[in-house]
Symmetry: C2
């Protein structure tokens, strides 16, 4: 803690120089909110949509979902649901009425208003890898438990890359910080290293309340200002099959009552926690998400809710989870259709099963990111840095993924497919005729610097040029970029008073013992 603060203060005078150096590290695309212009890929016809909807509704009506949360049970009983012990059954009319209250689009405004994001419609937003307990980089060369320093470095990447629009959970779990105070230290790091939209884990009331308070302090907001519009969000998973745990629901209820965003993402692994058939796994996932969203909408009508998907399949041989598979892609697309059917914004992910940032990592991640595009996902979690089915965070993978994300952003720019007379360019074609080339002509000169995507990591040299430059494979090039970015990183500005208030809050809560660790 003291270390971090000292670094920040000492670094102040050099900030300008660092910023100038930082600006030169890579030539990245500017911050923007990508708009997904592609018509979504829709594997389901109308009958298929109705079949999955009916399946999800019958799960809620006939089988029911366990809520291990007394408060939720009381609320749902009051709402007219059939509650037996901790099992809740709810009719489709109630579910659809409640879900209909959720906005199809909403904003989250972090401490830097320029980093405001809009979630829903055809907006496409990317977030960093979240929650791996382990870390891998090329210098260490093996899997190690995460540390605060590694976490901070990945937070710096999250802030640095303009193609990362929101901060997810901890980009790696810093297991060198005791769980009772981990949220305090990491949120301090997050808030001082990044001005992007923040996330809170729903892991017990103290953590959620602490993090909301820290985000409020970081924004310099009064309670009223904090609650006036979404400032942050939480993401919860159900415990598939068909169960919601206490802290997840508790955290969401706390966030809902203060007007903050909620993402509900069941993790229905087909063949393990869900049916082996993808439509069944999707229906179950929808049921698990919709019943929680119905609860939150009953408590606070119109609270922003996002329906998440994490439906994938297991390895047939070992039962291990697989990611970025054909089945993953299709279930993501199917969930996208259903999210639009329910009028809810949608979250999916950038995922892979690969253990190192190699070829497999890239085809699996590409599959999952293109599935996010095809499904018209609005939030793409884990879009940069994820390995080993989410058990490892890697800075090289983070940087490689950002190259793909930037390409997706560029892919969505309307000028790429413009067809006006200037783009058909008949005069230019006439001028060049049947000989020569287009390099030197005015039409090219006028557009050359912005006509094409400019990579920061891809090496487009020919083999001889690449070899002369050291013959460096992609992952190692990414490692060098990582070191350069971290070495010249400058945190976004924060008033000294706010930083001190955050530090004081952390110190006070630590002195009080932090949060219980009996979760």
């Amino acid at each position: 803690m003291a270390d971090v603060m000292t670094r920040k203060r000492r670094g102040g005078g050099r900030a300008g120089a660092a910023a100038r150096r930082g600006a030169a590290v890579i030539d990245q695309m500017p911050w923007r909110i990508p708009v997904n212009t592609d018509r979504p890929t829709e594997p389901l016809d109308e009958d298929g949509i109705q079949a999955i909807h009916d399946g999800a509704m019958r799960i809620l009506e006939e089988i029911g979902v366990v809520f291990l949360n007394e408060e939720a049970l009381g609320i749902l009983r009051e709402a007219g649901c059939r509650v037996e012990g901790d099992l809740v059954r709810m009719d489709r009319d109630f579910v659809m009425e409640m879900v209909g209250r959720a906005p199809s689009e909403f904003t989250i405004t972090p401490r830097n208003p320029d980093r405001k994001i809009t979630i829903g419609g055809n907006k496409l937003l990317f977030g960093n890898v979240s929650s791996p307990p382990n870390y891998w980089d090329m210098e260490i060369g093996r899997k190690v438990p995460g540390t605060r320093e590694q976490c901070a470095n990945l937070l710096k990447l999250t802030q640095y890359f303009n193609c990362i629009h929101f901060a997810g959970g901890y980009p790696v779990e810093p297991v060198d910080i005791h769980a009772s105070i981990r949220h305090l230290d990491v949120l301090y790091d997050k808030l001082t290293l990044s001005d992007k939209v923040m996330h809170a884990y729903s892991l017990g009331k103290e953590r959620v309340e602490d993090v909301m308070e820290m985000v409020r302090i970081g924004g310099g907001w009064s309670d009223e200002e904090f609650e006036a519009t979404p400032r942050m969000y939480t993401n919860i998973n159900s415990t598939s099959p068909l169960k919601h745990d206490h802290p997840m629901i508790d955290g969401c209820l706390r966030m809902a009552r203060r007007g903050q965003g909620i993402v509900v993402t069941p993790f229905t692994l087909a063949g393990a926690m869900a049916p082996v058939t993808m439509a069944g796994a999707v229906a179950q996932s929808l049921a698990e998400a919709l019943c929680a969203i119905a609860l939150f909408q009953y408590v606070r009508p119109g609270i922003p809710c996002v329906i998440g998907t994490f439906t994938s399949n297991v390895d047939m041989k070992t039962g291990a989870p697989a990611f970025g598979t054909p089945e993953y892609m299709r279930s993501t697309q199917m969930t996208g259709q259903m999210a639009r059917f329910y009028g809810l914004p949608m979250r999916s992910s950038g995922v892979c099963a690969a253990n190192v940032p190699d070829g497999q990592a890239m085809w699996e991640t590409s599959n999952s990111l293109w599935a996010a595009v095809q499904s018209r996902s609005n939030m793409v979690y884990h879009a940069a840095g994820w390995l080993e089915g989410g058990l490892i965070a890697s800075p090289e993978k983070f940087i490689m993924d950002c190259e793909i994300l930037q390409q997706i952003q560029r892919y969505m720019e309307p000028e790429v497919v413009a067809t006006g007379p200037d783009e058909i360019a008949l005069d230019a074609i006439k001028a060049v005729g049947n000989e020569g080339h287009f390099f030197g002509i005015q039409h090219t000169q006028d557009r050359y610097t912005t006509a094409f995507y400019q990579p920061f990591l891809s090496d487009w040299k020919n083999y001889e040029g690449w070899e002369a430059a050291g013959g460096i494979w992609t992952a190692e090039r990414a490692h060098h970029k990582f070191k350069e970015i971290i070495g010249s990183f400058e945190p976004p500005p924060m008033e000294d008073g706010i930083r001190e208030e955050l530090a004081d809050f952390v110190a006070r809560r630590k002195s009080e013992g932090g949060a219980p660790t009996d979760f």
Copy 2:
């Protein structure tokens, strides 16, 4: 030559054992013709389609295309086109009438009728890398000129993988064979190592005639049988901007007159041989392809023609070609829309700029292969094995790409997105309820072995399992697969009489001096 034949003959007795070993090398998907069930991604609206069409037509009407082929000039003059020197201008009515004669779908039947392919509609076919002058594998560890042995090994991969549906050009140029007889030796190797659809380079009349004759012999067909239905195809490139060279047109005319397939693929690199704007590069590409197709349809109405795209962009900094970029994806999709507008089957490619089979190679290749899917391409050239913008062929890349191709095939299988009662699986969800898992239940047991894509190269083990197995990155795993496949490869059956007739033909044509090398 003798070496190869000796190997084949000696290998005969061990063929059975080799086949049994071979079958066990990898557990691959069966041969099938994938059907692309996705609605294509369409960046152009109706105005955009008309703008590009009008651009292409005006190029042909107002600017014209050079045909460096006297025969073609005579034919086009006869057809009523405006011919001045070697420059040909043609009206859109003529172009559209001629192009309208081309079938929207056709078959090619190689010597093994089970390997017949249908090109057009929503069929999605993959071919091997074609024509790189150089080779790279992990054992050699550097770029080297191609050899006959390397070429044969890549042909074995072409035959081995069921997800490769047709053989393209030489998978690597065997520059250790003199150019005058290269086509004879390689076609002998191709025809004896593979029973899939064959390709002929249009590089002078002798080569085209020799290859057609060898394919005819290989199929055991009479001239009439060879000409009765397409048995093979050629692929030509224009010399952008707006020029067709002599041998390309000559080869196509020879193929057309014998009823064989023709693919016309301009290589319009935006900013170099075509306008810097993608719509202009696409319009020019279409003009170059359509005027050639019009010629072939005038000569032989109804001859199968495929319109190819190879529109990409250059690196803004160096002018070097880039592949698998956002601009490449969009131009491929735009060309797909235009191919459907003209009622022609379409060819695109699996491409990258990367020099080694690493992360960059995989994101660039994934981008291009998904663009092939999104554009509803029918033939995907270079779908396996391409590196360095087509200057290097690599067996590791070939095998990595085949894992992606299989995943695309699986992605297209209707059962993945089936939504019948058995797939919604309400009974299974009811049986498991809110506790336990789906591993052991009957619904899972009944479907477990076929429910999910089963990879042959992806490693889905967790980090510890992967590390215990040697911690091998993807490219190296692919290298091991390559050695195993080559080590146990068994060529498809061919009658001894046919093999001898092929060998005699090769020997005779060599004694006659082969083909001129003044091209």
